[in-house]
Subunit: 328 residues, 2 copies
């Protein structure tokens, strides 16, 4: 009997979940829920249903875990709690500052309906958070650094696209190599945002747009670019499609800390991700979390969880005996 | 009320635990148990008792978690199960192939007496194992690589010291940089042991010993050196003491895997440790695990666990709310 997965929202993340489910023998995709007209949406998985989001309630007994694949800005703040009334759910809510309130809302809904929810799965929040927790628990006297990239920032790309005269754009966040090396060497500098990352933009102009004015607007944009060393390249639409069509990302979580009676020994813990596809990696974490939620739900553990609350073995398809014999 | 820690065995690891306990405000060192005459052992912590191992039973109600700091070859196979009859315990049993039988023995003893035990904590087994588990659960189609070093291997140093004419020696295990770069780049080569690591020996000769003969004996020693590119340096006793007195170690766990409907996207997950002191870092993991064991025991969870079975939040001194707000 396989774990029956539902997907709510069929964009990059939803498709990534669909692909990841196929890579896990103990799971199958039961249904995809969409706000579009279902007949206009075709999925990759043979036998999986495509349904209107309004029909979800009819699937209560036919789906073990529903994975929410909407966005954190407007979809998930309402959706996760709503769906937790019907299903065991997993989401990738990633607005760090609003996690406590999102947790409280989902926890209340899940407890009331007796479901298990897991929020903020992915890589940051998610695997990066886990590594900050483990590293801090092991080295209580130390300092954390998180570097992102090299990767496409959706938010920054959107900001460039909103400038008049810009037809399309892609923005890469890039860690400053010297800062990374300093931290890796065990030093613990105070680093301003602009000392940790640079930004690189590839911009397609509308016909007749003033390149110099666009470049200046980008480089002086507050919050997004003004505090960073920013490079702007103007390229053709074809080049953008050909060379910048992917959604790579990744980054580094590094903790540097000391031990010993005189704090004489230094240790550096580094976790690094290098991802060809940001949404597909996030999806892969969501699917492993769905397995954990399925198991927690079988134990009757109602309420909201995060990766912090889940014993690692729950994420793996292997048995406890296999894990101890093969991976410990 | 602080968590009262006991230490069994006061070598490098035991002293490391003592130092780590001082770095954690929610813990205090209650007693150190030794097989030596207690009056010959002086500890760093004011107020901590030093007792004969034979007196341990008298401390049943005065210690919350006992951390076993003996060796995996002869101490822990008997000790952990024995002490689990009296205490909640943590050990760093690191003979990978014998973990299943050790687990079974400790589990039986702990269940019988109603105690909580956690075995094989440290970095490998331990943090490296956790990273193998997480990475494999996220990327089921992929390949794991573990590289060790640069660091001192006690076993290989001992092997060199057993050669006639060798007064003292230190052996470093070193990852092959080109192999590491290949794996990091997302390739998945099959690598023989000697393609992943080289070995470097610093040897102090007895007076009149034949350097050429010693070097040949090292380089041709089966299992330990014959399959590796090995470099031998002959140095003075003073140089050894001055430049090779530390016990640094570390290494890399890398998983490279694919996602996507056509497996078209590759991801690389890398976990790296760079440790000034192998025993002190291991001790720091043991102490975080003692906190987890204390909490599991308070829930009445009897039996043996590993890091695979422990929700990460249990290792941290921070509350669930703090963790979500600060680290997620």
């Amino acid at each position: 009997m396989k774990i029956r997965i539902g997907i709510a929202g069929y964009g990059n993340l939803g498709r990534g979940v669909e692909c990841a489910v196929r890579q896990n023998d103990d799971m199958e995709l039961a249904a995809v829920f969409t706000r579009r007209a279902p007949e206009t949406v075709s999925v990759l998985t043979k036998g999986a249903a495509v349904c209107s989001a309004a029909e979800a309630a009819a699937w209560r007994d036919k789906i073990d875990v529903l994975i929410l694949c909407g966005g954190s800005a407007t979809d998930l703040p309402a959706q996760t709690a709503e769906y937790a009334e019907l299903f065991h759910v997993v989401d990738s809510f990633d607005t760090h500052a609003r996690i406590p309130e999102h947790f409280a809302r989902v926890d209340a809904a899940a407890r009331k309906s007796g479901h298990t929810a897991l929020i903020s799965a992915g890589w940051d929040p998610g695997m990066f958070s886990l590594n900050r927790l483990y590293a801090g628990a092991i080295l209580p006297e130390g300092k954390d650094y998180t570097f992102w990239g090299r990767g496409v920032s959706q938010g920054h790309s959107d900001a460039v696209r909103r400038i008049a005269g810009v037809k399309d754009a892609r923005q890469y966040t890039i860690p400053v190599e010297t800062a990374l090396e300093t931290v890796r060497a065990g030093e613990t500098p105070e680093l301003a945002a602009g000392e940790k990352h640079t930004r690189e933009c590839f911009v397609v102009l509308e016909e007749g747009a003033d390149a110099a004015r666009v470049e200046k607007e980008i480089k002086t944009m507050p919050n997004y670019f003004a505090d960073y060393e920013t490079t702007v390249h103007f390229i053709s639409e074809e080049e953008l499609r050909k060379n910048h069509g992917g959604i790579p990302h990744g980054g580094f979580v590094i903790r540097s800390g000391v031990t010993g009676w005189e704090k004489e020994n230094r240790h550096v813990i580094e976790y690094r991700l290098k991802l060809d596809s940001n949404p597909e990696f996030t999806s892969s974490v969501l699917v492993a979390c769905a397995r954990a939620v399925y198991r927690l739900a079988a134990e009757g553990q109602a309420g909201c969880r995060t990766l912090f609350d889940v014993a690692p073995a729950y994420l793996s398809a292997k048995s406890a005996e296999e894990l101890r014999a093969e991976l410990l």
